[in-house]
Symmetry: C2
Subunit: 609 residues, 2 copies
C-alpha cells in the first residue's frame, strides 16, 4: 500500500528499485487475475520474496462462535499462503466490540491459530494497532505473544503504531530476537489528529517525517531481529504517484536510515554498524545557480540582473551560457536547455554547491539512486559531476575555488554598479505536487543537509506548504514549497514561480541602488506597512524606509528578516533580496501571500515584462 | 476566506452571485493596493456593504502591559474601520497563554475596547473560538459580553464553533436579540479530528456537511437576530476554485437553508417562515439518460446496448439521436453534442427525471441559480426544460407519461432479446475535483433529494470518496464520486469513468443472457470469489453462479447487492447491472477497486474496444 497501481504495476516498480521482497496486501491479491501460484512465480521471476501476507483484521473474539468463523476464514487464507509461498501472516490486534480483553484468553486464541499455521509450516506475526481495542501498545502485544507460547507465534512491530502513541521503544532491545517475526517501518509528520486518520493518510517513508526511526530501528536490531525491513506507508499522495518513482524514493529512505543508524549502538550487528553510503562531504555555499532562458526571457532576465548590480563577466567557451557575478553570487543564463512552455520560458535549471570533495559527493548521490546526468563538455572544460533532483533541477558538485570558472571567457563588460549583494542566500523551488516529500528527502540526504520546520500559509490561491533544508552553517539553503492540493484549472500561477534570493548587509542601501537603476521591483501595498506599524514596535525611521523601498519584514526569537522581490521575469522566475539580522533562520514565509497577490496583480494588469 | 483569489477577485465574485455584503479579513486588506477608502468605494460600486472586519486575534491578556499594546493595535484597526465604512469588528476569544481566565476581568477588557469603539461609532462582536483557551463555548462568551455591559459590545455566534463541540444551541433563542451583533454560518462533515484542523481545512457551506444548520439558525433568529447571515468557510478546495462558481454555490446553500428553516418555528419572523423557493415536485424515476457519442464510440455503445437487451426503438425527428429501450430503461445516444476529447469520446451528457410538474421543477432549479439551458427544438417537439449541473451534465425535467417520446419516430427495429433489465437503477457521475461538494448540494436541493452517507475506498490509483443522493422512494439515485486528491500525471483513468446502472430482478438469468449475446462483460478475478467464500456464508450454488457470471457482491444490515459491469466503452462510459435484495440501499462501493483494476488491465492490454 506504499505504491499506486495494481499488483502488476507494483511488482514491476519494487523490483526495478532493487527491493528484495514484498508484503502482499489482500486487496491487491483479490483484484489480480493471477492465481496465488502465478503471483509467486511472477515474484520469483523478479527476484522478489513474499515476506508477509496481510489478509484480514479482527481475529480474536469473546464470542467463541464468531472466533470459530474467524478461524475458518484464517485457515482458508493459510491455505492460500502455501500457494503464494509466503511463510508469515500478519494478525493485527482487534478493533471490534467483541475483541478479547483478557490477555490469557487472547493468548489462547493466538495459540490456536499458531497451531493451524505451524501445521502448514507457516507462522503468525501479531501486531498492536495504535487504535486496537484492548491491545494498542507493543508491550501488551508482546505479553499476548509471550503467553501464547508457541514457536509459530511471534511479534510484528510497526514504528508508526509505537511512535505515534509516544510509547517508549526502549525496552524493545530486551525482547528475545527470535520472537520478533516482522518489522514494519513508517515515519510521519507530527500532527495533532486522530491516530487512525493520521495513520491512514499521512504516513511517510523513514526520514521524511518527525519520528526517530533510527532510534526505533536500533532497538529492534539490538534485540537481534534479522528479518526484512518492510515499509508500510499509507499516504494519500503516494497512492496516486508513479509507483516506479515512489519505489526509488522508498529505497533511498532506507539507505539513509541505514546510514543514520550506523555507529549508533555497539550492540548492533556489524553489517548495520558499517553504512555502505559514502559520507556527505561538507558543503560551502553555492558555486552558482543556473536559469534556463529562451530568446524572449533571456534578455529580460539579463537586464534585470544588471539592474540588480550583476555584471556579465563571462561567456561559456562552447555553449550559449552567460555568467553573471556580484560578490560571491554567480548566476548562469543558459539558452541551451530547451523548455517547452512557450516563448518567454524561464526556470531554475541547476544549482551548484561547493563541496570539499565533488567526486565523493557525486558518488554519494549515485549511491542514493540519484540519476547521474551525462555531461557534454569540451576537452579543456571542467568536469562537473551532476545529478537530477526529483523536480528536474540539476545539482552540480564543484570544488571550492571555482575551477569551473575557467570554462568561461572573460567578457570585459563594463561592470554594473554594485548593489551590495554578497552571495546567494537561498534557492526556492516550487515542487511538483507528487514529489514534495521525495524532493525534501533527496536534497537533504544527498547533500547531507538538515530539515527546517514545515510551515503552511494561506496563499491567495490555496494553502501552500514550505519546508527548507540547510547545512549547519547555513551556506546552502534550499526552500521547497508545494500546494496542499494539486492546483486546478482556475488557480493562476501554475506552475508556481521559483526564485533566487541574494543576501545584502544593508537592505535599504541596496534598495536605493535598485530603485536608482530601474530594477523591476514589486510594489508593496501601504496597507501592509500600516499593519506592521499597528502590530510591531518598529522604529519610525525603519518603517519609513521600508515603506519607501517596498521592503517586507519578519522576525522570530532569533532575529529579523528584511526582504524585497522583483516581478516575475519570463514565465516563472523572480529574485529576492534579503538581509538577515542576528540569527533569523527562516524565509519570511508569512509575507508570501502579499508577494503572491502583487505578482497576480501584475499578471492581470498587462503583458509579461 | 470562503473564496480563492485576491480581494479584487473576491469582490467581483460575491457581487455577481447576488450577495448584499461582505466580511473583510485582514489578510486580504493587507495584500491589496487599494486603501481602505478605495475598498469602501469599490464595494459601494458593487452594491456591497462591509458588515464586519476581522483584524486580529488575542485581544485580552493577564499582562496589563501586553493588553495595552493590544489595545493600541486595536485602535489603529478601529481608525482603519472608519475609513473602510465597517461598523462591527470581530474579537475572538484568546488562545494565548496570557488569555484572561477570570470572566469579570475579561469583561472589563472587552468593555474598555467597546468604549474606544463607541467613541468612533463602532461596535465589538465577541466570539468564542471552539479552541479558545478559557472561552470556548457560546454561553461563556455570552457571560463575558453580559458582564462587559456596554451598548457597543455584543456577541458573534459561529455555527461551527458551537456545533463542532457538540454544544447544545437550545438556549440561544433566549438571548436578547439586540446583543447578537453578528452571525457566521459554516457546516462541516462529521470528522474525528482536532477541532482546529477540522475548522481550518474542512468547513463546508450550509447543507454540504453533517451539522443541523437549520436548527442552529432557528435558535438565533428566534432570539431576534436581524443582522446578516455571513458565511465563514475555511475549505482547502474552495481556496483554490474559481471564486465566481464558489460564490454561486454559497448563495445556493443559503437559499436551501432558508427553505429548510421555513415553517419550523412560530417564533421566527414572517419573512423567514415563508421561503421564496418553489417547492420541489416529487420525482418518479428516470425518464431517460443520454450519452454523448461520436462516430467511433456511437456504434460501439449501440452494439453493447443491443447485447444488454436494449432495442433501438426510435430516431429523433430532427437530431442525430437514437432512443434505446428495455423495460422502463431508456438511453439516448446523441451524436450532436460535440466533445473535444478525441475520437472515441463518450460521456453521460444528460439525465432526465420525471416529475409531477416539470415547469415547477425548472422554476425551482432556476431559483436555485442553476444555469437554464437554451432549447433548440422543432415546432412539434416536446418542450423539455433543462438546466446544467456543476459537472456539466444536463438535467431535464419531464412529465410522467413520457410525452417527449413523440419526438422520436419509431424505427421498427427487430427487438433485441430482453435481458430482463427493468429500469435505470442509478447514474454514477465522477465529479471534477473542484466541484464535488457543489455538485452534491446542487443535485440534492434542485431535485429535492436526500443525501446518503459518504464513503471512501482505497482504489488502485488513490482514495476515492463517494456520496449518493436519492429520493425517499429511491426512484432517482445519483452516485457522485471524486478523488481525494486531484489526479496527476501518472494516475490513469483521468477523467474517471462514469456509468449507468440498470436493475434486474434476476442477476443470474440476466448474466446468462448477456453472456449468450456477447456483452462486453468485465472478468472478475477468481481470487475475489475465493475471498468471498472465505469471508461469508454464501450458499455454494450462489457462489458458483457468481463465479460463472462474474457477479460481485455486497451486503449490509438491510439487504444484499449483486452486480456486474461491462468494459469501458468509448473514452469513459460503462454499464452496470444490479440486483437489490430487500432494502440494500448502497452501491457496492466496496467492490469498486476490483472493478477499477480490471478496467485498468483492459486499458493496458490493448486498444479501446
Amino acid at each position: 500500500m506504499c505504491l499506486s497501481g495494481t499488483l502488476e504495476d507494483k511488482l514491476a516498480a519494487v523490483a526495478a528499485a532493487g527491493f528484495d521482497g514484498i508484503e502482499v496486501f489482500e486487496n491487491d491479491l483479490i483484484a489480480t487475475p493471477w492465481s496465488p501460484a502465478e503471483v509467486a512465480a511472477r515474484c520469483a521471476d523478479l527476484g522478489l520474496s513474499i515476506d508477509l501476507y496481510q489478509p484480514f483484521r479482527d481475529l480474536d473474539s469473546v464470542d467463541e462462535e464468531q472466533f470459530g468463523r474467524n478461524l475458518r476464514r484464517a485457515e482458508a487464507k493459510l491455505d492460500l499462503m502455501v500457494a503464494l509461498g509466503a511463510d508469515t501472516v500478519l494478525v493485527c490486534s482487534s478493533v471490534g466490540d467483541d475483541a478479547v480483553a483478557d490477555v490469557d484468553r487472547l493468548a489462547g486464541q493466538l495459540h490456536t491459530l499458531a497451531e493451524r499455521a505451524a501445521a502448514r509450516g507457516l507462522r503468525i506475526a501479531y501486531e498492536a494497532l495504535a487504535w486496537g481495542r484492548h491491545v494498542s501498545t507493543w508491550d501488551r502485544s508482546w505479553e499476548a505473544v509471550r503467553r501464547g507460547d508457541h514457536s509459530a507465534l511471534g511479534l510484528c512491530l510497526d514504528s508508526f503504531h509505537v511512535l505515534s502513541r509516544g510509547s517508549d521503544p526502549t525496552g524493545i532491545a530486551d525482547l528475545p530476537g527470535e520472537k520478533l517475526f516482522f518489522l514494519q517501518l513508517a515515519d510521519a509528520p507530527h500532527l495533532n489528529m486522530d491516530v487512525l486518520q493520521w495513520s491512514r493518510h499521512h504516513r511517510l517513508f523513514p526520514g521524511q517525517g518527525g519520528f526517530d526511526l533510527p532510534g526505533f530501528l536500533g532497538q529492534v536490531l539490538a534485540a537481534g531481529y534479522s528479518g526484512p525491513l518492510s515499509l508500510e506507508v499509507f499516504n494519500d499522495v503516494f497512492r496516486q504517484t508513479d509507483p516506479a518513482r515512489t519505489a526509488v524514493d522508498a529505497m533511498r529512505s532506507l539507505l539513509a536510515l541505514e546510514e543514520a543508524l550506523a555507529g549508533r549502538d555497539p550492540r548492533l550487528p556489524e553489517r548495520v554498524r558499517l553504512s555502505t553510503l559514502p559520507p556527505a562531504p561538507p558543503v560551502a555555499g553555492y558555486a552558482f545557480t543556473e536559469l534556463a532562458v529562451d530568446g524572449v526571457s533571456g534578455p529580460v532576465i539579463a537586464t534585470a540582473l544588471a539592474t540588480l548590480g550583476f555584471t556579465h563577466t563571462g561567456q561559456h567557451r562552447s555553449k550559449p551560457v552567460q555568467l553573471w557575478e556580484q560578490g560571491r553570487a554567480r548566476v548562469l543564463l543558459n539558452a541551451a536547455v530547451v523548455r517547452s512552455d512557450g516563448a518567454g520560458a524561464a526556470a531554475i535549471s541547476a544549482l551548484a554547491v561547493e563541496t570539499a570533495d565533488p567526486v565523493a559527493s557525486a558518488a554519494r548521490a549515485e549511491a542514493l539512486l540519484a540519476p547521474v546526468l551525462p555531461r557534454s563538455r569540451g576537452a579543456t572544460e571542467a568536469d562537473l559531476a551532476a545529478v537530477a533532483a526529483p523536480d528536474g533541477t540539476e545539482v552540480f558538485f564543484c570544488r571550492a575555488g571555482a575551477d569551473w570558472l575557467t570554462d568561461f571567457l572573460p567578457t570585459r563588460s563594463r561592470p554594473s554598479p554594485s548593489a551590495g549583494l554578497t552571495h546567494t542566500d537561498h534557492v526556492a523551488l516550487a515542487q511538483p505536487f507528487d514529489h514534495f516529500d521525495e524532493a525534501a528527502l533527496f536534497y537533504r540526504v544527498v547533500l547531507g543537509l538538515q530539515p527546517d520546520a514545515t510551515t503552511e500559509v494561506a496563499a491567495p490561491f490555496g494553502l501552500v506548504r514550505h519546508r527548507a533544508v540547510t547545512d549547519s552553517d547555513h551556506t546552502v539553503r534550499i526552500g521547497l514549497s508545494v500546494a496542499l492540493l494539486r492546483r486546478g484549472e482556475w488557480a493562476p500561477g501554475v506552475p508556481d514561480p521559483q526564485h533566487l534570493a541574494f543576501a545584502t548587509d544593508d537592505i535599504f542601501a541596496t534598495a536605493r541602488a535598485l530603485h536608482a537603476h530601474g530594477a523591476p521591483l514589486l510594489e508593496v501595498p501601504a496597507n501592509y506597512h500600516d499593519d506592521l506599524e499597528a502590530r510591531l514596535d518598529l522604529a519610525p525611521e525603519t518603517l519609513a524606509a521600508m515603506r519607501e523601498s517596498g521592503v517586507l519584514y519578519d522576525r522570530d526569537e532569533h532575529g529579523e528578516y528584511f526582504h524585497l522581490h522583483t516581478h516575475v521575469l519570463g514565465s516563472r522566475v523572480f529574485f529576492e533580496v534579503v538581509q538577515r539580522i542576528a540569527d533569523y533562520t527562516s524565509y519570511g514565509t508569512v509575507n508570501a501571500p502579499v508577494r503572491m497577490a502583487a505578482h497576480r496583480r501584475l499578471r492581470m494588469a498587462g503583458p509579461k515584462r
